[in-house]
Amino acid sequence: MSLVFEHRWEHALVASVIDAAKKECPNCYLGRTAIQKLVYFLHVLEVPMSFKFRIHHFGPFCDELADTLDWLQADGVIEDQSSQSRYSNFASSENWTELEEGHLDQLSAHQETIESVVNALGSMDSNTLELIATLDYSFRWVHACGGNGPWKQSAIEKFKAIKGNKFKDEEITEWYDRLVNAQLIKK
C-alpha cells in the first residue's frame, strides 16, 4: 500500500517525531498530548513549522497538529496501537518510509534537534510533559508582557492560574529550575 493523500513538511516532521520517540522508548505510551508537547518544544527550538500553539486544558495545543495525526493515520503513515478507545499510543506504520523519502533533506537538517528533544522528553509521561510545556509557555507569556525579570515567580503564578492545583509546588519549582538549567527559559 502506498500514500494516497497529499503531504507537507509538517506531516513528515510529526511522523518523524513519532518514529524517533517510539525508537527511544518502545514501551512508553505515545498519546496525542505527548506528541503535542514534543512538537511544541521543537517549535520553541525554532524548527520551522506552520503550527501555532495556544494554551488549552493540558498545556500548549495546536488544532492543526491534532488534524495532522488523523491525516497521517488515514494514510497509513502512523497507527494507533492502543487497545483502549480513550487513549492513543502512536507508532510509525507501513507508509512512513515513503513519506520520509520525500522529505529526507529537510528531515536531516533538523534531525539533531528532533533527536535531542525526543531523547530528553520522549520517555516522560504525558502529565510531566504537560507540566513542563505549560511552564515554558507561562514563562514566554510573562516574558512577552514586558519588564526585566526575574521571571520565576510571575511565571509560576501564571502557571497556577492555568493549571490550578493540579501540580505540587515542589515539582513546579523543580521543573522550572531544570528548564532554566537547560537554557530554555530564564530565572
Binding site: V4, D63, D67, W71, A74, D75, W141, G146, A161
Partner: protein, 371 residues
Amino acid sequence: MEMASRIFDQLASRQGAVMEEIFRLIPELKEHTMARARQVCRLAGLLHDVGHCCFSHAAEKVLQQDSDHEALTVKVIIEKQYLRDKLDALFFPGCADLTASLIDNPVPQLQILKDIVSGQIDADRTDYLLRDSYHCGVDYGRFDYRRLIECLTVWQDGNSGPLEMAINRDGIHNFESLILARYQMNTQVYYHRLRRIYDLYLKEFFLSLDPSNFNTPDKVLALNDFRATVQLMDAAKDDKLPGHKWAKRIVERDHHRDVFSLDERDGYLALNKAGVVFSKIVNEFPDVEFLRDFPEKTTPIHKIACPGDHDESLIDFPLIDQGKRYSLGERSQLLEKLPASFRIGYIFADTTDRDIKREIANRCRDIYQGS
C-alpha cells in the same frame, strides 16, 4: 471593521476602566489609551484578510505555497512599501506593528482585542455568516447579532489575570444561534458538493498557470479577482492557453457529478476507507475521469468544552451569571449535541449519464462497506 467597533464598544462599556489599565502597559498605548486600542482593533478588523489572494481559500494553497494569507496580511501591514508608514502617520507611531500583532501573535495584554478580531465570538465570523447568507439567498446563517453583542462582557480572574471575553447568562441562546448558523452554513453552503467541485476546478486552473506569475507578494496581490477572472475567461475560450480544461468547465458550468461522500460525523478511519475507494474506482472505470476532495483539516463549528468532554482542543468559554464565572458548555443544551468539528469529503466522476453515475455510486458504496 464595523462589527469589531461594535464589540469593542460593548466590552468597553462593561469594563472600560480595567481594559484601559491593562492596555496602558503597552508603550504605544500610554497616551489616548482607549482611543488607540479601539483604532487598532478596528484596523485589524478591516485589514485581517488583506493578504488573501484572488478567490481567497480556493487559490491560496497554489498561489501562496510557502506561506498563507495571514503571513501576507502581516507583511502588507508592517512593511514600508505597503501600509506601515501610512498607518503610523495617519494614526499614531507603532500603530502598524500593534495592528499586525492582533492578527499574528499579540502581547498577552492585547489578547482580548485579538479575540474580537478572531475568537469564539468574533467580528469576522459574525460578519461573514450574515453576508454570505444574504448573498447566497439562503435563510441559514442568520442570527440576532445585535443582541449577541449586547450580551458580551469582560471577565478577569482576580485582579491580575488576563482579560477574557465572556457572555452574560442572557446571551446563551444568541450564542447558540451563532453556532447553529456556523454549522448550517458550513454543511449546507461552504461544503456543498457543487461549491466544492468548482473550488477544485479553480485550484487545478491556478496549478496549471506559470508559477512565476505569482512568486512574489506583489504579484500575488496584483492577481486580484478581476484579473484572475479575465485570465479564466480567456483560457476557457482558447484551448492553447494553460488551464483551458478547468476554465472551460467553470465558464460552461460543466461539472463532475458526486458519486461518493463522507458523512459529516465520519472520522479518520472513514477517510482512510474513502482513500481506498478512490484508488479502486479509478482502476475499475478507466474511461471515466475522477476527482477527489478529501479535506486535510476538519472544520471547527465551535471550541466550547461541554461536561464529559475529553477532547484537548476544546476550551472553557466564560459565562457570567450574577457576577460569578461558569462555563458556557455546562449551561448550553445545544452545544452538547452539536459536533465540535466535521469533515465532508467527496469523490466526483465525469459523467452525465445517470445509469453510469448510479453504477459507480453503488460500486463506491460496496467498496467502502467491504474495506
